[in-house]
Symmetry: C3
Subunit: 463 residues, 3 copies
């Protein structure tokens, strides 16, 4: 056991644990999305996040990991490491995964596959409550491949990496990319029944706010694997414990985003809307993802503050232009991903980026003068490729078999129609026709005027 | 501070964190079980997983850890390390816990006790919704002792260990063993009221599917401590970061099990039943538990695919033979545990098993020719001992004091009868007589035909 | 890469992961508190734990960390490290954070800020269901500053530290202190409407027991970061893996507290009240927090057993003296915090405390003869300062703007009044006037006598 080996062992412990934290983010997405949608779909929506991890894990093992990080590729795609063997997964810094210089290939796989899973979770969020179940299987496979290509461009030694694009842990690669595929899905599916009835955006409130809160805290928790784990090592260049610094900027941004989201909601909507506060947290985490390893603490706070504003205004604007995005993926992951990618170019500190020149594989800073243009070019390139590829895939699937459920299926809910079961079989569902209908709007508005139920009279008499 | 000491420190960090992940699996079992049972028992069922950890922790400290891993024992049981002292818990690789060569006794205790807790959680799952509260206390103590004996046989240097049985992280020790005690409990308790009314297996749907999903994701998350932590060190033989490889096989099997469970349910039940998909995930994790350190990635996928089928067919078969196992413990942990134990014998790769010869204590491979027969022998021996010991204990308890609650207690629910409180006191419970009755079946079938409630008419008029 | 550097890297991995576990405790508090209160406030209560982390993170970055641990201060408060820079956060063992000798300043910040967050969560628990939203913002800032001062006294080299006070991970600093501010808030706010109607303490049952169970298991899980992480290093003095020992004592105490809480509730209340069992777990964890690094396993069990009794009797006594503390913060964190602080003085083992003399910064034992008097002095000093400072702040805020919501707001719930939304918009709320009213008591008592609903008759006819 040499010193170098022990050092590698420490890095592997860190990266594996970071990957495990990111895996848990699927529980965060499951509960965030289930909480922000309706109870008739709750089982379906929670369960599809289990499927995400399943599909991404298998596809990424077979082809994705090699396409993203395999040796011997070109600027567009990796060239080896498909269906990797036991030996290939156990060696460190050797072909086909020489990219990972301090951890075995297996640890590299585990850390990278969970990012593909997060990106896919974002896509599926915007398609909630109206897509057919099989679409998730089919498009999950396609998107994992799309994701593997662009992640090679920026992280795996591809052409944007060569130009010096800075995306520490994936504001562009994971979040913005996921949001663009989400946008393609939301456009092709169209809005949920009743969402724009009467020519305006009708609120379809989430059925369980504590679920959404739990989901958000789990995501905040998991983000400490997402960003700090992206150092891929515990000693980076001449910096020891640099991953701890990344954790600090991540946390400060999220904190600022929570405050900013809550206050913006108070100003714009005249109430401290909880889901907007949660969106503020998530948008800040998305934005600081690119920046967390490159910027000073004050910049992290600023990035978070702006993200909280983007989250609230972005969600309202997406609704205004007629797109139905049930969990706000386009605003929270897309717009805030753009902001974070550009802010990295604006605020990167030479002392930090220089550190990374000598660091582990994925995090090199070339010191280009026009960093912000490189960031913009990366956004445009990834945007054009991912949106068109996703839109194309879903368009073909829609033409051939249809990707949206029938109206009566949507009305009765996906739990009973797609899975033959109820999410909460013992709770009574009082709203006829579901949310987003006129009946529902009336019900919410006049909730307190309802005549008392029989048992309430009983109680009133007795009291 | 020497290099060796730093290496031990890294291993201890890894093992302690793995143990913490496994502790969190109790939240997974709590929510999986609470979600898959009825709301009248929800507080009781969630809370008993807190008790599990409590009882196992104390009993395992007092006697279990010494019986399983203490020095100076024989092939049947360990011989020292009872009520260990401060010094015994702080030294590394010394008596009475010389078994753990790179971590202090305290870390060994923490990692091993959580496995006992998981095994006990499996037992209690099958006994849900009809056992008296004190039975959990009493049998919890007994089972922790039983578990400590068999874990000595296979992991602690006992007779099956000597024969070369391969059970990396406990498909046999933890899961199959727990399932056999669960079977004993389910047989002695008999089915819940109404489960087999009318001579057929009536579905008693779980009251909260998102809880079951959350539980499953937590278990998947925790399993990354369960299997990879079982290396008990960060450098194993000549392999660095081998635990990362174990994480990869674990993840691939779970992913395959999710897909296989969902598809099998679609084929057999004509619907993509969510609880069956979750069972597929868990069955795959159970099966790969024995195999995760010994097999190639393709074998992990295959093990997971088969497990998904076993989960669905197994649950149906257990119901058909008249055993009421509310959360499917016998199929998911028992049958899939058998499959995983045998598959390890089938698919173990010499390159991996050889690594472990020179590795840490618990993971030695003797290279026996007839490995599959050794695995089978282990299954038979553990099965005979655990089933008969558990059945015996519960039978005596039943004769003396009765282990099943009165019918009226079962009907009104264990929350109010055993704990004097409601799980959800502000929600109205609409189904008279509870699930599994004729009334309930009718209610579910005719749900949409109910006349609208008064407030629905209100709303309809207004709309 | 030197051996020393690798050792520092291991310590940083450990401390950062411990901090991440403690951050997750906010999800634990969110669900514990949401579960133990009423559904009309559920979104508000869950969401404020997101705000806690946000406010504490920013304030602690700006001034708190420097006040608690910055170099160049005096016995009362630290003197540098405000708004720390990139360089200050990345260096190890240097000004202004030379206190942290083996981890970078950023890791020190992250580990310490989460303790401030936990203390604040305790405060807000006792103020639940009747305080205005802005009060949480304003008092959150004030309390984080108060907390930073007293944590300097005991942990950051202040006057109580100089006297040799032993508080391993914060029974006094975090829990007792939080409980005293909670007491100040509960007194100034007064009881919830109906709580003491009719001159007696009326139960206001929590609306969701599984939430409370999940919260408790998350807290137990997170406590493995809280206590063992407080070693701040992986090699402490001559002890390797000492943090694993701390995890063991923590776990044993919690286990004993669960059993003791459940049995005490059974004896005193004639039922195994679930929330009392959960309180027993938490009270035991609170008490062992001071002791976990200093006492033998048997003492940890004893501390836990006594804590379980304190939790049950304490909650009942606080109610009897007319204080409405919805989640039992005063008893569980305050009384048990006092017990743990004193028990540390009683049971500390020289072999362990001596270890710490040569250990990392925060954990020195001076070997004073009258340790118990030092502990008592610390309790009195922190108690006097924190209670009076908190009471003063809240009293001024109350005089100027009022800290309690209007009665009609409290009756209709904080979700709709403060946030303009419902926590569970699709569930029907059956109890008129809310809990704690006569109507409610009657409803609970006569629950089973209600005439069947229309649909139940339907079902009965059909069956």
């Amino acid at each position: 056991m040499s010193l170098k080996e022990v050092g590698f062992a420490v890095s592997t412990v860190w990266v594996i644990l970071a990957a495990i934290l990111v895996i848990f983010m699927q529980a965060g997405f499951a509960f965030l999305e289930a909480g922000l949608t309706r109870m008739k779909n709750v089982g379906h929506i929670a369960a599809k996040n289990v499927l995400i991890l399943a599909i991404a894990s298998v596809v990424y093992y077979c082809v994705g990991f090699g396409m993203a990080f395999g040796d011997g590729g070109n600027g567009i795609v990796g060239g080896s490491g498909f269906f990797p063997s036991v030996d290939e997964l156990l060696t460190i810094g050797q072909s086909p995964f020489s990219w990972f210089s301090e951890i075995p290939g297996a640890a590299g796989y585990l850390f990278e596959v969970v990012f593909a899973g997060v990106s896919l979770a974002i896509v599926w969020g915007a398609m909630a409550e109206r897509a057919k179940l099989w679409v998730y299987f089919a498009f999950g496979v396609a998107f994992t491949v799309i994701y593997s290509v662009t992640s090679h461009w920026i992280w795996g030694g591809g052409w944007l990496f060569g130009l010096g694009m800075q995306d520490f842990a994936g504001s562009t690669v994971v979040h913005y990319q996921g949001a663009l595929a989400a946008l393609a899905g939301a456009i092709l599916l169209g809005p949920r029944i009743g969402k724009f009835a009467g020519g305006r955006g009708n609120p379809i409130p989430g059925h369980n706010i504590p679920y959404a809160v739990l989901g958000t805290i789990i995501l905040w928790f998991g983000w400490f694997g997402f960003n700090p784990g992206s150092t891929l090592a515990v000693i980076t260049g001449d910096k020891l414990g640099y991953f701890g610094y990344v954790a600090l900027t991540t946390n400060l941004a999220a904190a600022a985003g929570a405050c900013s989201g809550a206050l913006t909601a108070r100003l714009v909507l005249k109430k401290a809307d909880i889901s907007m506060m949660l969106n503020g947290v998530l948008a800040a985490l998305v934005a600081v993802t690119a920046a967390s390893g490159f910027v000073a603490p004050w910049a992290a706070v600023l990035i978070g503050l702006v993200s909280g504003v983007i989250a609230v205004l972005g969600v309202l604007w997406v609704e205004r232009i007629g797109i139905d995005d049930p969990i706000g993926a386009v605003a929270v992951h897309g717009m805030s991903g753009v902001w974070g990618t550009l802010a990295t170019g604006l605020f990167a500190v030479p002392a930090l980026t220089a550190t990374l020149k000598t660091g582990t594989g994925g995090l090199v800073y070339t010191g280009s003068f026009h960093q912000i243009w490189i960031q913009l070019l990366g956004l445009l390139a990834v945007g054009a490729f991912t949106f068109s590829a996703s839109f194309g895939c879903l368009w073909v699937m829609n033409k051939l078999w249809g990707i949206r459920v029938e109206p009566e299926v949507e009305t009765s809910g996906l739990d009973v129609s797609e899975h033959g079961m109820w999410g909460y079989p013992e709770f009574y569902i009082p709203v006829p026709g579901g949310y987003g209908t006129e009946a529902h709007s009336h019900l919410l508005a006049h909730r307190h005027e309802f005549p008392p139920r029989e048992d309430e009279e009983e109680v009133a008499e007795a009291a």
